[in-house]
């Protein structure tokens, strides 16, 4: 308290109080811990300058495989290098994660854990609570199509949001576009659409992020070892050893 200047006695204390991560004031950006996305413009658009480090992020796409996974590849590569080795859990992915492409993108294969389940919510919660995962990616097709019980997804999402905050592990849910109409307890929700050489991001819910759609190009991502198609070598023959 000795450092507080006498002319504004209460101001810095209040400022300091408001810096608490649990407090979020209307239009201001929330001060949450974040993880860099690998793209400077996306970092600037997201509240706190990156993906939420502890919280649920929903990425909504018209269908799987439009390029939404590429958004997270730099993060997977960064988390793969951190020191206490932890898993990156892929829970009920729609296709097989292709090892050669992951390696080419700098994602360490030995830390990837694929889980195939019809009940992703349970597996996500286990992964988050175990303390053994650095990041959880989940494809939430099953919950979104559970029309029979409308309350179930919201309850499940709420549980997951609490679990991510408890464990300080980011969880990313990939959901279909029609989930945009439902409310969600997620920290960050965004819609991704592919465009030529990149994608268009629209934040649906964020604590003070940009509301305008954001056009990003894959080439501005500073991901390690991003291999672009080489114009010079169009045809390459690969023959087996004979």
């Amino acid at each position: 308290m000795g450092q507080v200047p006498p002319d504004s006695p209460s101001e810095p204390t209040l400022e300091r109080l408001l810096e608490h991560p649990a407090i979020w004031r209307g239009r201001s950006t929330a001060r949450t811990a974040t993880l860099g996305t690998g793209c400077r413009r996306l970092d600037e658009a997201l509240p706190g300058g990156g993906w939420p480090a502890a919280g649920l992020t929903e990425i909504l796409t018209a269908r799987s495989g439009l390029g939404e996974l590429r958004l997270l590849i730099p993060l997977l590569a960064t988390l793969g290098c951190e020191s206490p080795a932890r898993w990156a859990a892929w829970i009920s992915p729609p296709f097989e994660p292709y090892a050669p492409a992951l390696i080419a993108a700098g994602v360490p294969l030995e830390r990837q854990l694929v889980v195939r389940t019809a009940d992703p919510a349970w597996a996500i919660e286990q992964a988050l609570d175990s303390g053994g995962c650095a990041i959880v990616l989940a494809w939430f097709v099953a919950v979104a199509t559970a029309h029979t019980r409308k309350a179930a997804p919201l309850g499940a999402l709420r549980r997951l949001q609490l679990a991510t905050q408890r464990s300080h592990v980011p969880a990313f849910l990939f959901r279909p576009l029609d989930a945009a109409a439902q409310s969600s307890p997620a920290e960050l929700r965004l819609v991704f659409e592919p465009s030529l050489e990149g994608g268009r991001l629209q934040l649906l819910k964020s604590r003070g992020g940009e509301r305008r759609p954001l056009e990003i190009l894959w080439r501005e991502w500073s991901a390690p070892n991003r291999s672009e198609p080489q114009p010079g070598e169009s045809t390459r023959d690969i023959h087996g050893k004979t």
Binding site: L66, A85, R86, E96, P97, S130, A134, L196, S227, T235
Partner: protein
């Protein structure tokens, strides 16, 4: 000063030549009846001692059956194995002498157990507690110990130079030689070991064979006797048969509890863990229900097994009431222990957690072991073979990989099976290609494809290929998502 004198006098008395001391039990009141014998156990203590000390144990089938002292009694191997596992806590050098005996080399354990006398008493005590009645003796060579035990002399002979004297009065029968040899020796008036040892060596070998001479040499320690050591059971196996049928999983779990406690004890004594536990639930007239529990790393705690088995059993529907529960372990693995953190990861500012086997075990217990896997790279040119499912390994250091820029672009997603596309390729725009990938004649899955990177009408980049063989069909194989 007085104390030192007393101590030295005790030592002198103990070390004195031909000093025979009665062997005393440390807790005489706890000692049950069967092994109380008319003659006292004797310790022959001498100046020099042999490099080895062998205990021969001759278990008896049952106390009710009276067998003459020097007869060879055939006991079943299960009993021998049981005694061997008891003996295993006194020495690691246990050897079976089929059909009736067990030999233990205990020289190295004297210091730990406070001398030969105390070691023998404790060994006999634990055998008695396990309900095994036996004859025994300790001698510098295995054969001598066996001969003494067969003759019923329960003595401890530590020195080799005393051996011949102790063995001399024993009948030849204790060597278990062929009856013809014993009869021929008997015919020449040789009825004791002493008489046999006094015969001239060359003549003995000529008449009764080199093997017989070698046996005598081994008896006295003149020739070494290498022995094959007994290896204790490396798997756990237990069963429980309640008197009635178990209908509910919770009942099965309740009856599993003591078996799991036994398993933990078994593993703990071996300082080992298992990563495979097999449970068989036997029904009345149906094939048994099998539950195989695979763990991501070696475990030994009963609590952990119970938790995982409970998860598995809750997923299981019992086809019929359970009559019998069998539990078996997979191969034992050396246990690597490490301390756990006080706080849960993230809690109270605790350090970030590590990748832990517990997560994989929990997921697998509920989803099945095939549903949880890691990824690996396979050096293969065919796209569908270039990756593989790997066992998720905990604590594998991530090796820095040099990604070759030579490799052409690959999609992040691969379809399980290539999906046929309409040949017209409506709405698809070829972005890059072709990349020709072909052959695979060595395993019968030959391919001949031209791969292209294309963009579909939604704007997604996809990986398609065209068969080079006649119908020239187009397939979707990957997605650059």
């Amino acid at each position: 000063m007085a104390r030192r004198e007393r101590a030295s006098s005790v030592t002198r008395a103990f070390r004195g030549p031909r000093m025979l001391r009665p062997l005393q039990s440390p807790q005489p009141q706890q000692r049950p009846q069967p092994l109380q014998r008319p003659e006292p156990l004797l310790l022959e203590s001498l100046f020099d001692s042999a490099p080895e000390s062998w205990i021969a144990l001759l278990p008896r089938r049952s106390p009710s059956q009276h067998v003459p002292q020097d007869e060879i009694e055939f006991v079943d191997s299960a009993l021998l194995h049981r005694v061997a596992s008891i003996a295993g806590s006194f020495t690691s050098r246990v050897s079976l002498e089929l059909p009736d005996a067990l030999l233990l080399e205990v020289r190295g354990s004297f210091q730990l157990f406070g001398g030969a006398q105390s070691l023998c008493l404790r060994l006999l005590e634990s055998c008695r507690r396990a309900g095994v009645e036996l004859r025994w003796s300790l001698a510098p060579t295995p054969l001598a110990a066996l001969a003494l035990a067969r003759a019923g002399c329960e003595t401890i002979v530590l020195a080799r130079d005393r051996l011949a004297g102790v063995l001399a009065p024993l009948p030849l029968k204790v060597l278990a030689w062929p009856a013809a040899t014993v009869a021929r020796l008997d015919a020449v008036g040789v009825r004791t070991l002493g008489a046999a040892l006094r015969l001239p060596r060359a003549g003995f070998a000529q008449r009764f064979g080199q093997q017989a001479l070698l046996a005598l040499d081994r008896l006295t320690g003149a020739a070494p006797e290498p022995r094959r050591m007994f290896v204790t059971r490396e798997r756990f196996r237990a069963q429980c048969e309640p008197g009635f049928e178990l209908c509910a999983q919770s009942m099965v779990l309740q009856y599993l509890e003591p078996l799991l406690a036994d398993l933990e004890e078994f593993l703990r004594t071996r300082q080992a863990g298992i990563d495979l536990l097999m449970l068989r639930l036997q029904h009345h007239d149906r094939p048994p229900t099998r539950v195989d529990l695979r763990l991501a790393s070696a475990e030994l705690l009963a609590k952990q097994f119970r938790e995982l088995l409970a998860l598995r059993l809750s997923q299981l529907e019992l086809p019929a009431p359970v009559r019998r529960i069998e539990l078996r372990s997979g191969p034992l693995q050396a246990l690597v222990t490490c301390s756990e953190s006080i706080w849960r990861p993230g809690e109270h500012g605790g350090a970030a957690g590590r990748e832990s086997p517990a997560l994989i075990e929990r997921l697998r217990a509920r989803l099945g072991s095939a549903a949880v896997y890691g990824l690996c790279l396979v050096p293969e040119h065919r796209p569908e073979n270039a990756w593989g499912v790997a066992e998720p390994v905990v604590g594998l250091a991530s090796a820095p990989r040099s990604t070759s820029s030579e490799m052409s672009r690959r999609p992040l997603w691969l379809l399980h099976e290539p999906e046929a596309l309409p040949s017209a390729l409506q709405g698809l725009k070829i972005v890059d290609g072709p990349e020709r990938i072909e052959t695979g004649w060595w395993d019968g899955r030959e391919i001949a494809r031209d791969y292209y990177i294309a963009r579909d009408e939604a704007g997604a980049e996809i990986w398609v290929y065209r068969e080079r063989m006649p119908p020239h069909a187009w397939y979707l194989h990957g997605i650059f998502g």
